[in-house]
Symmetry: C2
Subunit: 640 residues, 2 copies
Amino acid sequence: MKRKDIYLDTVPLQEAVNIFFGELKKTGFFLNKRVEVINVSESLGRVTAEPVFAKISSPHYNAAAVDGVAVLSEKTYGASEKTPVVLFRDEFIVVDTGDPLPPNTDSVIMMEDVNFISDDKIELISPALPWQNVRLIGEDIVATELIVPENHRIRPQDIGAILASGHVNIKVYKKPVFAVIPTGTELVNPGDELKPGDIIEYNSKVFEGLLKEWGAEAVIFEKITDDCQKIKYTVEKALKVADGVIINAGSSAGREDFTASIIRELGRLLVHGVAIKPGKPVILGIIEDKPVLGIPGYPVSAFLTMELFAKPLIFRMQGLPENGKEKIKARCAKRIVSNIGSEEFVRVKIGKIGSEFVASPLNRGAGTITSLVRADGIIRIPANKEGIEAGEYVEVELLRKKEDIENTIVIIGSHDVAIDILANEVKKKYPDINLSSANVGSMGGIMALKRKEAHAAGMHLLDPDTGEYNIPYIKRYLREEKIILVNLAFREQGLIVKKGNPKNIKGIEDLKRKDVTFVNRQKGAGTRLLLDLKLRELNISPEEVRGYEREEFTHLAVAAQVVGGTADCGLGILSAARALNLDFIPISPERFDLVILYEYFDLDAVQKLLKVMKSEEFKEKLKALGGYDTSLTGEIIGGD
Amino acid sequence: MKRKDIYLDTVPLQEAVNIFFGELKKTGFFLNKRVEVINVSESLGRVTAEPVFAKISSPHYNAAAVDGVAVLSEKTYGASEKTPVVLFRDEFIVVDTGDPLPPNTDSVIMMEDVNFISDDKIELISPALPWQNVRLIGEDIVATELIVPENHRIRPQDIGAILASGHVNIKVYKKPVFAVIPTGTELVNPGDELKPGDIIEYNSKVFEGLLKEWGAEAVIFEKITDDCQKIKYTVEKALKVADGVIINAGSSAGREDFTASIIRELGRLLVHGVAIKPGKPVILGIIEDKPVLGIPGYPVSAFLTMELFAKPLIFRMQGLPENGKEKIKARCAKRIVSNIGSEEFVRVKIGKIGSEFVASPLNRGAGTITSLVRADGIIRIPANKEGIEAGEYVEVELLRKKEDIENTIVIIGSHDVAIDILANEVKKKYPDINLSSANVGSMGGIMALKRKEAHAAGMHLLDPDTGEYNIPYIKRYLREEKIILVNLAFREQGLIVKKGNPKNIKGIEDLKRKDVTFVNRQKGAGTRLLLDLKLRELNISPEEVRGYEREEFTHLAVAAQVVGGTADCGLGILSAARALNLDFIPISPERFDLVILYEYFDLDAVQKLLKVMKSEEFKEKLKALGGYDTSLTGEIIGGD
């Protein structure tokens, strides 16, 4: 059975790059300069394919540098307040800035220093120096001078200088053209109606964006089904119009084999499988002396392998160095386990907490495109390293500007839809400030504050003994920290059940029922603590609840499992139930607060955050979601 | 006379910005959101005008995460090597990655772990856990979740996530449209034949590039002459098609008055003159609630005032924070004098010498577009500061990436066309390495090495006592530095004279003639020292040479003065004479060396530079220029 095939060879990343680029070099691929002559004024962002030497000088004549009168300096020698020099018509000429210096003059006197007796007669009380206020020929550019070298990416100011130096056209590298072929019977176009098993084909649009950013042109082919002949035919067609071909395969073994065997049939298969994670199933080959890349289907694998293999290729085709990503040192917030033998790329969120950057790993699944949207950077774990310890300092390649990261408020802790809304309102009112949130549960938030990994934490921790929210926990676990407690909102917790409540669930006691499956939140989540409290009150043991051990990290994820039918109910907030059109059985209202570390309270960004929390607009948006009481929203309700 | 008008009011920069943005705000300009709905796949680089919440979950069904068989986990409990579990047709279903999880199954066993007895019968030796190898609904995205906030610039991965979350269209800010009107009777289009007084109109092309880079669209109008009615008519036309208008006036007083008076007539003139240098004549106003900017004509003033006034406007119209330039601390190599009362913007070259960044000021003329091409950064000198001392540490706003600056070899010293050629060859062979040269003369180069402002210096200093080149000077002035001396080439120095030598100049002795004017090089230039030596040999005193005090900084600049007719001759190299089609009277051959500081000799970039110097290609290019002997080019000829 084909299905049991494994990758023929899995080669280390650097080796894969060396093989691919080495073989391409042998074919003369990089020597074959693809150039074109275009109009200078349309050359923004293009790369020079030859040096630009000035054809003419600029100024190309000796020019008046000010408004004034042009004179022969000799004639003004000896001028002083006591012995003014008088010049007559023909001895001076009125000039404007930029006018050519008239014959038989060698300097310009500023208008302010000229005393006009009449239109034909002027008086000067100080002498002019030769060449004063004259822009000499070639002051800016001397003909034949180098304006920009070869392999230079053209900026707006370069366009000015190149035009000023007498060029109208310029020789640049052609934009490398890459064909993208999406393959997979399960693919549907964005906007098509979805059946289970359908996958929206968006990778090609991501590739198009990447290719454009790298200076290439993308030719996106219509998606094709898993039909070896059709794919082969399309590859042949693509090779006619492009400098390189990208086949985006799904990740099932059968389909990859199509790509590999087509490359083997039409050209040379160089690499099938690279020791990286994600991205292992990448395929590299050459057909008709052109690079052909088989890029895996999972969106994160796809993005990463495009960066690792297509980007350096496209830069090199344009004579450009691959511009490395900015790197920073960051403290790793959590332990990251990695397998020996694969170079692993972990997406992280980064916050600047005090003077340090702190990196928190995001979802590592190759299928989570949102992890690339949320990521601020990527940590590379070498193949020979077993992982990274919490607290270890690591190098992070940035996906966003350092400045943006520095203007980000980091909130780690419990999840609430209100924090998403808050993030958007902050960005809307203050475009320079970002709010980044990570959902690790209320207790996780407390620990993050203790370890200085966040500016603030969201929490809703009910103390069973006192019935008080949050403060008892802060007193216990954050004894050494000064904090300020601000209310986000009061909200309703309850059981999220299917529309129409088909299992007729009425409350926590129904979780004992054999025909009811539950989906829980992760350990340390306030919602889970609330469940435990309620179970204890009813003398129900966790073992009696089917699905107690199934953990999801957000209210919405819990609701999604109810929609998907993998659970009959879960404990969560009203807004999550409403969002997915589910029913809701109220269990308990609760207070949700933001705990802000006192040392960051005066930060401009934090003050702006509080302003937004107090705004009527924000409160209105929360009320519209349902289940929120905003009577204390934005109010300081505690601190030490 | 109008010509004597001075600026009505010159306001400080921040005040000008406050007035302009404040008045625009009052008209509701920034509240009036210009939005449009476009296809997500065409949204790269655009900015969201509303938050994007997920319409659907992704995956939108429970999916197999691997190729394998789907089973109900309960049925596998108890499986072990000793007690394998056997499942029959209907109890297992073969699935591919991405397939929907079949009904009545809750987990997927990887193909490798399944023992197929027949197509109808499998054997398992370990139990399956519920939901193992299943991508649960919403694993990546849960419907209603925030994907990207408002005011977010869309990247390739965002396109993927937005499409995955069920959107086909997206609401983004319209690209701000700015009209650019070039005015000036002296303007000609690139490629037109040039008469003295003509100025090539390239500012509008620079503006177009800037506007595009900032996310706006440019509507470039055909240049118009200095005719108040025509300009007024064009402004009115531009206001109909654009969100804002940029009038690019020449810098003569008359023309500015047109812009100011047109704005006053059609709308409100807010600012006329800002206390900045360059860029003082900027004009800011509002017509029909739209911003109208009068941008000065000198290219550097134009570029700078576009950055200061148009850029923040365009960013704000798109809901984006103005992305500040990266800043570094650098040591200032030279004293910079600045006038009190104006905020001054000085373009600088930056080199990373050892562990320090060193900034060297470039030509400060507002007319030198090449200073913007060569600049690595800009120093702002506040209005209340008289300048910057040599050695002072200053903040520099970068115009290039820090990484590029770090990969730059800095050569300060004497000028030779060969260094331009070398710079291009280095960039061509090693796209990641840049060569930056500044021309301060041979002695200036020695001083730069002493102060650690360069990696290497070009020099050709003849010792009159020994007849030896460079080494005696190095011994005298660089006693404490270890250096390595590498030959660049031998070259011919001579008198550069007009084509056909109309003044019949035969040698240095002709410089005494009353009808011969000379143009000299700056103090410290090896060529000037050579002249002094030759004059002394002939017993000619500098006072006898007409033009001895006229200084130019490069061979090409000297040649340009001969072309321009401001001098009859100058001392310089053959290649400069040839470049500008001038005649050449040989005076003396000389050796031109690169002096490299020993501590930087092992730098990868320096080693690559030496490789290029030794290459046949480089030597061939030098020979083609004429006047170069490359027999020792690239050879180490001294050091300590």
